[in-house]
């Protein structure tokens, strides 16, 4: 570690406890306002017309009949948006929100209406006449890579793609070090295998929703459910050609996101409808729209080659990953390629990733984007090799585990990390030695995620009566108001109940990055602590003035300013409330704030262990027992850390066993609803046990690491390994749905 650690050794009073969350009462009484819960006087209902074709040129759109319908106040097509958006990525976002020349997938938006009611709007959609020229389509990643596959775009590949490939191949990524041929030569056993995973959806229970009000003065207000209202502001402003300062975005409570609400779908359309209609417009997606036209994750096809020595040492690792990310470039194959072998200390490692477009909706981030599929492939192969060589799968992982000082497969050298600790805990846990019955199998797998920091603003205000308000700019998606209040209280030395944290709108704070990359507890926490420290400095200054001593003769301890050292004189301590009460007399209101591009996020590792039982008659799989071992750095509110572990594990179980986007020959999505796209329900599952490890992140004052994403990385492989052992056949294609498992058992 060349950088000095920011983490201080300290005894925590509040951090690490489990207080009630401040937004709790609102959320158990139905008072909390989510995206669809807001309305405005004179509000219209906006609806979107979607392409029924997977790939079609839009020859013309005739909106005249819809426009003249009674109760219709605006109709919008791509022609209403600026013709040119400079930034390529933003231009894609616009094209995804409202199709331009072509409809690129089943469900692609082609027009929108705003009307006095949902019924009128629905009727109006039917009056819009779109003339399509149907084009050949492709939805499978391997088929899309064939040179003769129907192409979605022309000349969009970046310079990394070799000549002669399909126009659908957008980028090639390569990572690694050493000489894999030399490594494979040293192996006693080399395993080569192909794996596939299907596209899944984040499956947040709250569909996208927003309420837009565009004033005739060119100023606009937007209420929406999003993982980042600052991102919504910046993206919409760019797409609509307006200044960011003229658009104020307020984040509603958010009913889940998991990465799927890190971009926009409805918002620019609602703003445009409102602008044209001169009235507020509310848009709420239906569930089928969420499935067809928001951002599921990539599907993948991955080839892995791993060489292992008899003692379990991995001599070389290679993976070639192909991800289709829907109709636009940007699948997370780069992240998959970087993370595939990240848990291991390898001398020779190489990954190659291909980013491919197909006629499917543009993928959006999903919890540790790109990593779970890559971990599925690599962790399955390691498991199979360990079995073949008669080795304990946890021992094999321990033998190869990345540690402090290991050069990561994606480049840098790891600082203190927690993988080994999770593996040792797993090995010692009673779960590992519990007996298994017939048709049962146990699987383990490891996972890794980077975690981020980024732009963050926090403003902390001391009220005249000595309570504290914290304003932050990241939507509270799973208890972050509680953790910010806890860190502020810890730092100020006051009770948790004295602090109230709110999510401020885009007019109130500077830029805040999206709630993603597991960044909030880390980055917003860091900014909250810094803001509290600034307020403490100011309060010490006020006390010094009152006591007529030097500022540096005052320290802040246990919630009060105190004279420090023998020369400071004898003054009774002044509490925060006492200083606040006279703030007007000592220089005015007291606040602390912090605006920072937070760097220093710490990577996080996990090991998962799962027992499954296979019904050989039906192919059904039951999860019998599940334990998560993960490094949290420092768990601020352990109950919500456990919740992140459990939620990620269960999403991973769904990915492994049930969930998949199913496309027909016609290129249409066949299962756009929760009945046919089956996410895990309560009766599918046992309790999910958790073991929190705390290996402090040196980049955070309290040692916090992000925890939200790593937990979805290991379960795909852990479940597949467990089912493979239970069924006596290796499963390489997710989800392991009953028909797929029965077929595998039959082919044994």
């Amino acid at each position: 570690m060349a950088l000095d650690s920011k983490t201080e050794a300290r005894k925590f009073k509040i951090v690490g406890t489990r207080p009630l969350r401040p937004d709790g009462i609102d959320k158990v009484t139905g008072r909390a306002r989510f995206g669809a819960d807001m309305s405005a006087p004179g509000m219209l209902v906006g609806l979107i017309l979607r392409s029924p074709h997977p790939h079609a040129r839009i020859r013309s759109i005739d909106t005249t009949r819809a426009e003249s319908m009674e109760g219709v106040h605006a109709v919008v097509t791509r022609a209403d948006f600026p013709a040119f958006v400079e930034d390529e990525a933003l231009a894609d976002v616009l094209d995804n929100c409202m199709a331009g020349e072509k409809a690129l997938y089943d469900g692609h938006a082609v027009a929108a209406v705003a009307a006095t009611s949902g019924a009128v709007a629905r009727a109006a959609l039917k009056l819009i006449e779109v003339e399509y020229e149907l084009l050949a389509h492709v939805t499978d990643v391997d088929e899309a890579m064939r040179p003769d596959a129907p192409a979605l775009h022309e000349d969009r590949a970046d310079e990394t793609v070799p000549a002669g490939m399909s126009d659908n191949v957008m980028a090639r990524h390569e990572f690694g070090h050493g000489d894999i041929d030399a490594g494979f030569a040293k192996a006693d056993r080399v395993l080569e295998r192909g794996y596939r995973t299907e596209a899944t959806h984040q499956g947040y229970i709250e569909p996208h929703a927003c309420l837009a009000t565009f004033g005739s003065d060119g100023q606009a207000d937007l209420w929406c459910c999003t993982q980042g209202h600052y991102m919504v502001r910046n993206t919409c402003a760019a797409i609509l050609g307006m200044e960011q300062g003229r658009l104020r975005v307020t984040a509603s409570e958010i009913g889940g996101g998991f990465g799927g609400k890190t971009t926009v779908f409805l918002e620019p359309v609602a703003l445009m409808l409102s602008k044209k209609a001169g009235r507020p417009v509310k848009m709420v997606m239906g569930r089928a729209e969420v499935f067809r036209a928001t951002g599921p994750t990539a599907s993948s096809s991955i080839d892995v080659r791993i060489g292992m020595a008899k003692d379990g040492r991995i001599t070389a690792g290679f993976a070639e990953l192909r991800y289709q990310g829907g109709a636009y470039p940007g699948s997370p194959v780069d992240m998959g390629s970087m993370s595939a072998f990240a848990p291991y200390d390898l001398e020779h490692v190489k990954t190659v990733g291909w980013d491919v477009v197909t006629n499917r909706p543009k993928q959006a981030a999903y919890r540790a984007p790109g990593a779970p599929m890559a971990a599925f492939a690599v962790e399955s192969a390691i498991d199979e090799l360990a079995r073949e060589l008669g080795l304990d799968p946890l021992e094999v992982r321990l033998k190869n585990a990345a540690r402090e000082g290991t050069r990561a497969s994606y480049g840098p050298t790891f600082p203190a990390i927690g993988l080994e600790a999770t593996l040792r805990k797993a090995k010692d846990h009673p779960h590992w030695s519990a007996p298994l019955g017939p048709n049962q199998g146990r699987g383990v797998a490891c996972g890794f995620w980077f975690n981020f920091g980024g732009d963050t603003c926090v403003s902390l205000n001391i009220t005249p009566d000595g309570t504290v308000t914290v304003s932050e700019g990241n939507p509270d998606i799973g208890g972050s108001r509680a953790s910010m209040s806890m860190m502020a209280a810890e730092e100020l030395g006051i009770p948790y109940e004295k602090v109230r944290t709110i999510i401020a709108d885009t007019g109130a704070l500077g830029q805040n990055d999206v709630t993603d990359g597991s960044r909030v507890t880390f980055a917003v926490g860091l900014a909250t602590i810094e803001a509290a420290r600034a307020a403490k400095r100011e309060m010490c200054k006020r006390a010094a003035r009152i006591w007529e001593i030097e500022e540096d003769a005052v320290v802040w301890e246990d919630g009060a300013a105190r004279p420090a050292g023998p020369n400071a004189g004898k003054h009774p301590p002044m509490s925060l409330a006492e200083i606040a009460a006279v703030a007007t007399n000592t220089g005015g209101p007291i606040a602390g704030h912090c605006e920072v591009n937070a760097e220093g996020a710490g990577v996080s590792f996990a090991t998962h262990m799962v027992d499954t039982e296979v019904d050989p008659e039906t192919g059904a799989v039951k999860i019998l027992r599940y334990t998560v071992f993960q490094d949290a750095g420092k768990a601020v509110h352990p109950a919500y850390v456990e919740g992140q572990f459990q939620g990620g594990a269960v999403q991973g179980i769904g990915w492994a066993l049930n969930e998949e986007y199913i496309y027909g020959e016609d290129g249409r999505l066949q299962n756009a609803g929760f009945l046919d796209y089956r996410i895990p329900v309560a009766s599918d599952l046992p309790m999910i046990d958790t073991v929190i490890l705390e290996i402090p992140n040196p980049g955070h004052p309290y040692g916090v690491r992000g925890v939200g994403e790593t937990s979805i990385v290991p379960p795909l492989a852990a479940v597949a390994n467990a089912v493979s052992h239970a069924a006596g056949v290796r499963l390489t294609h997710l989800p392991i749905s009953p028909p797929r498992l029965l077929a595998a058992i039959g082919a044994k």
Binding site: H173, E174, M335, G411, F450, D516, R519, E709
Partner: protein
Amino acid sequence: MVRVRLWGSLAAAIGGQTEIEVEAGTLRELLDTLARDYPALQPQLERGVSVAIDGVIYNDDWFTPIRPDSEVVLLARLKGG
């Protein structure tokens, strides 16, 4: 001079070199010098990179200091969920 490690795709762009030496005291100097001395890296630099300095990942903070003995690794731009 700091030694900068490149990931495979970048190395391929400049003829297979996986490590290069660059005169830079901050992140901004590093990125500017790379763009100037290795035009083949330009497209990727424009798309965005993350930089790991001594194991800690930085995105855009120009003035992040880089010491001559720092371990500097360019990474594909990280994105999360």
